[in-house]
């Protein structure tokens, strides 16, 4: 497989873009023209070749650049990666899950050799060759969760299961859609979802929690979530909001196509074997309105979704200020024609 990892940025000059192939595989999350809240959890099983769910962990053309961006965020703010002391077993579980999955799915880039507790990990794109003892933190240059997530796209949190609840007791968040790991760490499932409108009243979280408490080993699940981000900025954290908030006022009818990005999160959940914890991965994908409109079906559908979105949800997602501009920009593709079934492009 010949995938070129691009040198690109997610801040300042924003040189990020998607290749035509990356646009085709973009996980467009809407399967109908009208917005509907749904939990949409499904088994995380192998998807079509080339899709973002072909493998359990998706590595794409932005891999190397995203890992550079993560290192920059952590350098400025180490609180983005934290783990309460009782989560160390779950951290090692995560190391195993990610290393085995990455090595199995992408043998051309990653390899893992195991001899009992003696592990040898090679990451060719990042030029890492590491021998270490599984279970011995002294043999890695970072704590286990931080070590492996500095080499894997997406944010991660580790959820401890106790008292019939899930507790977000460890995680790394450098590409998050406006939530603070530092503030939310230690919270249970109901608590960290507190700011989400509507869903509590609908009993959505009670049902989702009950489902996840019984999540089984070897049977991971996934769902898609989405929001919109101005500029291809990965780090839209509350911590940095003073820095990126102004972006939202700089959208114009002319530049909306380049500036406004649909941000889709592929969320995966796995039961971990030694710790009985759950890993919750949040893998973000960005595509500008212009990139999405290379499939007119997506442009028409997104504009219809934005029109039917309740104000409270738009507010929660931070879209209020630029929603009309996005709809206006997309209107050039709105010819009133129907869209084909399913999420895929034209």
């Amino acid at each position: 497989m010949s995938l070129a990892f691009r040198d690109e940025t997610f801040r300042d000059d924003f040189t990020f873009y998607n290749s035509p192939a990356a646009i085709r595989r973009f996980p467009f999350p809407f399967d109908r023209d009208e917005y509907m809240y749904s939990v949409n959890i499904e088994p995380h099983v192998k998807g079509p070749v080339g899709s973002v769910v072909e493998f359990p962990i998706d590595i794409d053309e932005h891999y190397v650049a995203e890992m550079k961006e993560r290192a920059l965020v952590l350098q400025q703010d180490p609180l983005r990666c934290q783990s309460l002391p009782h989560m160390i077993t779950a951290e090692w579980d995560l190391v195993e899950l990610l290393m085995t999955s990455m090595a199995e799915s992408y043998p051309q880039w990653f390899s893992l050799t195991r001899d009992g507790d003696r592990w040898h990990w090679i990451n060719r794109p990042l030029e890492i060759d590491q021998k270490f003892t599984f279970g011995d933190v002294a043999t890695l240059p970072y704590p286990p969760m931080e070590y492996i997530t500095r080499q894997c796209q997406g944010d991660f949190s580790l959820l401890d299961q106790r008292e019939d609840n899930l507790w977000m007791d460890a995680g790394i968040a450098t590409t998050q859609a406006d939530w603070s790991l530092d503030f939310d760490i230690g919270m249970n499932f109901m608590e960290w979802h507190a700011p989400v409108p509507f869903a509590h009243q609908m009993g959505v979280f009670e049902r989702a929690l009950k489902y996840l408490l019984n999540l089984q080993l070897g049977r991971p699940v996934r769902r898609l979530n989405w929001t919109m981000t101005i500029n291809p900025r990965l780090d839209t954290s509350p911590e940095q909001y003073p820095h990126w908030g102004k972006d939202r006022t700089q959208v114009t009818p002319e530049n909306a196509g380049q500036k406004v990005h649909l941000r889709v999160e592929l969320q995966g959940l796995w039961r971990l074997p030694r710790s009985n914890a759950i890993v919750f991965s949040i893998r973000g994908y960005l595509a500008s309105l212009q990139e999405l409109s290379t499939s007119p079906k997506w442009a028409r559908r997104l504009s219809r979704i934005l029109k039917s979105l309740p104000d409270e949800i738009a507010d929660y997602k931070g879209l209020t200020r630029h929603r009309p501009l996005s709809i206006a920009w997309l209107s050039r593709f709105e010819d009133g024609s129907p869209t084909t079934p399913g999420c895929g492009p034209d």
Binding site: D182, F183, I185, H193, A194, P195, F205, P238, P242
Partner: protein
């Protein structure tokens, strides 16, 4: 007396009110300010046996003129200890918890910021936060953490407050962290700098 209205936000702790946990061999009460009134109610409902197993730590805060301390001391001779500040009370509570065992139960009452700090200290001793018996009394003032510089601001009574550390104008969200014992404060004028709405007296 102001009471906390039921919050639609699920990260907000629920303070269920003080009542004795039957059977515990030792009872530790940490009270602040008007929390003395809740402690007095609790002690009024106790028999001699319970009182003989109880230790109370009290700091009067803004309620000093009311003289609750003397009433508490009269109900628990020798085992009602008064402290000049929250810090000095927590220092002593830390020592008491070091000597405590699983048959010790902890009760705390006072303002929300105080409750949060007592529960956080208890947690550092391995106590499950849900097992601390809590009752809110006194001001609704909030302890707020600035999400940007991570500084804490005590006794916040308004919906918008300038961070006492970095100066940013913060909106106080109804999002509470038990670990930090604080509400989240987020910049209010990030999108249009200087566009700061008037602060309302929201948490008197």
């Amino acid at each position: 007396m102001p009471t906390i209205p039921p919050s639609p936000y699920k990260s907000r702790p629920v303070y269920t009110g003080l009542s004795w946990v039957a059977g515990a061999r030792r009872h530790l009460i940490a009270a602040e300010g008007e929390g003395a009134l809740a402690a007095l109610d609790l002690l009024a409902a106790a028999d001699a046996d319970i009182k003989s197993r109880t230790t109370l730590l009290y700091t009067p805060g803004g309620s000093k003129p009311q003289g609750h301390g003397a009433k508490l001391a009269a109900l628990l001779p020798g085992e009602a200890h008064e402290f000049p500040s929250i810090e000095t009370l927590l220092f002593r509570l830390n020592v008491e918890l070091t000597r405590a065992n699983m048959s010790t139960r902890l009760y705390t009452t006072g303002t929300e910021g105080f409750l949060g700090r007592v529960v956080a200290l208890a947690q550092s001793h391995g106590i499950n936060p849900m097992s601390v018996v809590t009752e809110h009394r006194g001001s609704l003032a909030r302890r707020v953490q600035c999400v940007h510089c991570k500084g804490f601001i005590e006794g916040v009574t308004t919906s918008i407050v300038p961070c006492s550390h970095c100066g940013i104008s913060l909106f106080v969200r109804d999002h509470y962290s038990r670990r930090l014992g604080a509400f989240q404060g987020v910049i209010v004028d990030a999108e249009v700098p200087g566009d700061v709405p008037a602060a309302e007296e929201a948490y008197p």
